[in-house]
Amino acid sequence: MRALTAPSLTMIWLLLVALTLVGFGGAQASGWGFAAVMLAAAAKAALIVRNYMELRRAPLPWRIVFDGLIGLAAALILGFHFLG
């Protein structure tokens, strides 16, 4: 798999900004509203890890580790949010 070109990197940046604004729109939300905020954050983290850190080109074990860490962070925060 080839490295991303400049226009693709810029497209990822635009997506990251859009997701940031979506998350900001949900400021102070709780319950499912906060779940949407956290989903947007996890999507941003996945976009950065896969495209900017180029994990999409890395061997499968590395992709599992990094996707797993992002999933774990989001699940942990959301799980305890709903418990609180």
Binding site: I48, Y52, F66, G79
Partner: protein, 188 residues
């Protein structure tokens, strides 16, 4: 002859360090959330005292800086050394603004009497964002070292740029979670 950038494929050493650092932060996210579950209203009320616009500004700043670093690596790989250095310089400039905004935010909170000893939320806020800020400063130093080494395009320079870029993107990922967890989380 144009010098070609011989970039190693995702060096495992730096990836191991980054995964361990992420895991370490995730433990602290868990600790924060467990404590928060006991007093969600206090935490949500305290979070409202933070300036969410400054948090948003710093998020956009880090995302933009990360994009510029990725663009610098892209230029370096295709042998466009001047463009790589220019993009890296902009990334360093943008990243430095994060430190300025965070310093301003700390001082304005302290002036309002919101200090680490105010309550548990603010203790977490200062510790978590403080450790993150330390990562930002280390990341900026690594990027500055890569900028100096970009004068020569060789395998060593490529390794420096790639490794410091990876570290910088991790700093970005950590902030994405910190912003959502600390600034945007309410309670019902």
């Amino acid at each position: 002859m144009t010098a070609r950038f011989v970039a190693p494929q995702s060096p495992p050493g730096i990836l191991t360090l980054i995964a361990a650092d992420l895991a370490n932060f995730i433990l602290f996210f868990g600790y924060f959330m467990v404590e928060r579950a006991g007093e969600p209203m206090l935490y949500a009320r305290s979070a409202r005292a933070l300036d969410v616009r400054l948090g948003l500004l710093n998020t956009i700043i880090l995302i933009t800086s990360g994009w510029l670093v990725a663009m610098a690596l892209e230029a370096a790989r295709s042998g466009r050394q001047a463009a790589a250095r220019r993009r890296l310089a902009f990334a360093l400039g943008t990243g430095s603004i994060f430190v300025v905004v965070k310093t301003f935010e700390y001082s304005s909170k302290l002036k309002q009497g919101l200090a680490p000893q105010t309550n548990d939320f603010f203790q977490f806020y200062y510790v978590l964002t403080g450790v993150h800020l330390l990562h930002v400063v280390i990341g900026l130093a690594l990027l500055a070292a890569a900028f100096v080494r970009l004068r020569r395009i060789d395998a060593a320079g490529a390794g420096w740029l790639e490794s410091s870029a990876l570290f910088w993107h991790m700093v970005d990922v950590l902030w994405v979670f910190l912003f959502a967890m600390l600034y945007l989380q309410g309670a019902s």
